[in-house]
Symmetry: D2
Subunit: 260 residues, 4 copies
């Protein structure tokens, strides 16, 4: 479709009646031939990964699908269904929530790893620089709930180690993440282990994904949990089931409170 308008231009898809090509591949040659993770890779960045690369990539997609109904995205999905939204509307409401605080942590972690990987300065100096720019929180490390450790992270890092051993990836970003763990433990006097964002960021960085895709791929992965909870809520029925557990009331701090 090499014509007419510079309105949108794309490297991704070309179509004519009866024909669809994705990154140059006829769709009918992809269906049944590439796995879904390979297709995600092909679409988002081009090229078809080897099976070993796709398997490591897949592990990151599998790991982040859900973190329970108190995660804002999942809560939003379930609320949306009780407000009458269809599954697409519930998924949209939920994915919108995966902004800087949730979706952004993985993106920032990839950026931080790259900065460390390309710098000559000592790690402590780079962390200090990062904090001057972004605040105290180092993205991808520590967890307010999973103490002592997020069970997903060591499993993912173990897969990266295995992939480094067989030459699928270099292992340098796993080393960088472990370096940060060490530095933070030294600072705090207790473990601040890599979390799910930090571990998936290692995988995305090892496989050469640019940082912004870490956010997008997290959204894709979490969409699985979002859909699952939205559908489960739809099956349960229930209208109007707000975010409010029984007996809950918020605190009013303004003028002229109601006496009760």
């Amino acid at each position: 479709m090499s014509d007419v308008s510079d309105w949108w231009s794309t490297d991704i898809i070309d179509m004519a009646p009866g024909q669809i090509r994705l990154r140059g591949h006829p769709i009918e040659e992809l269906i049944g031939a590439v796995s879904f993770p390979q297709m995600i890779w092909l679409m988002t960045r081009g090229g078809v990964p080897s099976e070993a690369e796709a398997t490591l990539f897949e592990a990151a997609l599998v790991a982040a699908v859900d973190h329970g109904p108190q995660a804002p995205s999942i809560a939003a999905a379930r609320m949306a269904v009780t407000c009458g939204l269809s599954l697409n509307g519930a998924m949209a409401s939920a994915v919108n929530m995966l902004d800087d605080v949730h979706g952004g942590a993985g993106e920032q972690a990839v950026e931080l790893y790259h900065r460390i990987g390309s710098a000559d300065a000592p790690l402590a100096e780079i962390l200090e620089e990062w904090r001057a720019e972004h605040g105290q929180f180092i993205p991808g490390f520590g967890h307010r709930f999973h103490k002592p450790v997020d069970p997903r992270a060591p499993r993912l890092l173990g897969l990266v180690d295995a992939a480094a051993e067989d030459g699928t990836v270099s292992g340098r970003f796993a080393a960088i993440a472990r370096g940060i763990e060490g530095a933070l433990a030294g600072e705090k006097g207790k473990p601040v282990p890599v979390n799910i964002d930090g571990a998936t960021a290692v995988i995305f960085a090892e496989l050469g994904f640019p940082a912004p895709l870490a956010r997008g791929l997290f959204c894709l992965s979490r969409s699985v949990g979002i859909l699952s909870h939205a559908y489960e809520q739809q099956q349960q029925g229930g209208r109007n089931k707000g975010p409010t557990p029984p007996g809950y009331r918020w605190t009013y701090t303004g003028p002229n409170p109601i006496d009760d």
Copy 2:
């Protein structure tokens, strides 16, 4: 987590500090062990599919990822990025568009197949009944752009046939879809072939997915294309790039038009 509140209740996820179980499976036993399509299956409906089932399921997920920038969802994603939205916001804006017209066709097709499969009445009668309820359009058949045929559909049906031959699925919903094709061709005097919605609906029905998940799984699949286009647009830069190609103006039909 068997306590406290009936606010939300779920069969999907259980958590404690350091522990996450999805449908009863510790997450660290799933990561690296199940494929992403198997995880999607486990999350949305429970159970882990066989590899043969997962492969057929995967084909449906691969097939629907993109249909070009003129598809409203993809267009919305690209517009959103040029308005300054982050990738999660662009994905949300786009998935919201996958309502009854787009996301709903697959869901309706599964419903129609089930109705036909469980009815004693002749096909023509059931189609008539469907049209009385839903209008003339039979969901999952025909395509305004892909003439004579959507290249994705025969490939998907071929995979269903192969899966029926090796006993992975029964093949009865493929037969139902072909029956509808025959009936519509007879009615119109020209082919009205099964399209992407109709073909993925055959797969979802063969594999036992309930109809509403056809919509949700389409949203998941299309999210891949949405993310890819949003990210490509983000790389291209460009602000404010509305939906308007050069020279385009809308038609004003109200009172007191501007003379020009």
Copy 3:
């Protein structure tokens, strides 16, 4: 702009460089001359209401702006901000929630009033017919929280009465709503008074707004509260403040629960 394309056509706006007309009125003649409620009326349905009509309309817009942080729309807005969304993203996430359960009640109430107003059948029969189609719940009546009465409803109905007295409106839809109140009280043996949706629906019906706009106008009105809460939350700061009050955990009902 009377040319070119039938892509979009609109009675609402016409533009040329240096010129903007809304429903035929140059924008510079509207600014400073019509009130915001008059502009809302002009834009959504055409025509500029009298001041008396605009005042009654305005009362409905003022009444529904907020119903506290446990209302799903307000909760979604505040959650969104703690997830890092900008105000527009928070507002979008929140307005999406105003679907059939919240936004739809006013729309349905207008439809019900019109059905009653144009029917020859006795009220009890029409309510029965409505319930056969829509379920037991009569939209616009009763409140799970505001017992005995929603303080907004009698005030709004009082304004309708005053407007009927001075000839601004007919008062027939207020009479219809009171008829429904009477019928429901008779059925239940206790008051089931008109609520905010039912009372604003009376105003919209009296003023000649079509039913779907009742939903849209509610979204506009509630957007004020949504914005206010989103902005307040933004000022408070706080990251990640999910929907989960302290100590809250959901109920897991699936296989293999975590022992704790």
Copy 4:
């Protein structure tokens, strides 16, 4: 409601059964007593403005309601309806688009005015500093379509002048905006007049609104046009009406284009 939980806390609303207070005012004392713009003011920042203040505020709300179907927000709303979304879903999809590029310009303009108003440095220096931080584009000035001038801006500035004369506002932010106009005209050798974002920013700044509310108030105002177009599209019917005008095709720039 002075109890229980620090989950959400708010100065905005307090409720008990049968009672609703907004910023301390019983809702039934506000309905019919304050105008919709006064209510927006009370909700977003507290306090009830004088009628003169409310009138100036209202002019800004009236001015920005619509900018035609090629504006991304309006286009998204109309697309959403043709995809089957309800009015709330269409409004949400559209408001989500009002991010940094559209909604953010007004917010940035207020920030810039405040910076200029509180600085000792000469204007040229502050503009240079702004551009070093934000890029060449000065928010609130110039228009790619409305040459020579956006008809809304001079009308709004005229109302500010009148309000300054009668003492409602100081007029200092109007003077700042005109100073910027002068500086930009000097730079470019042609007029770069204040646009709708810059003019409404003057009003919001004169009235003491903080910068982020400029974005939120623009979203409220534009929601009126969004609703109007969504409802008009719903009345027109039409399914699947993508963003694509007849004959439109995008440009494919990737490998292996389809020969045609």
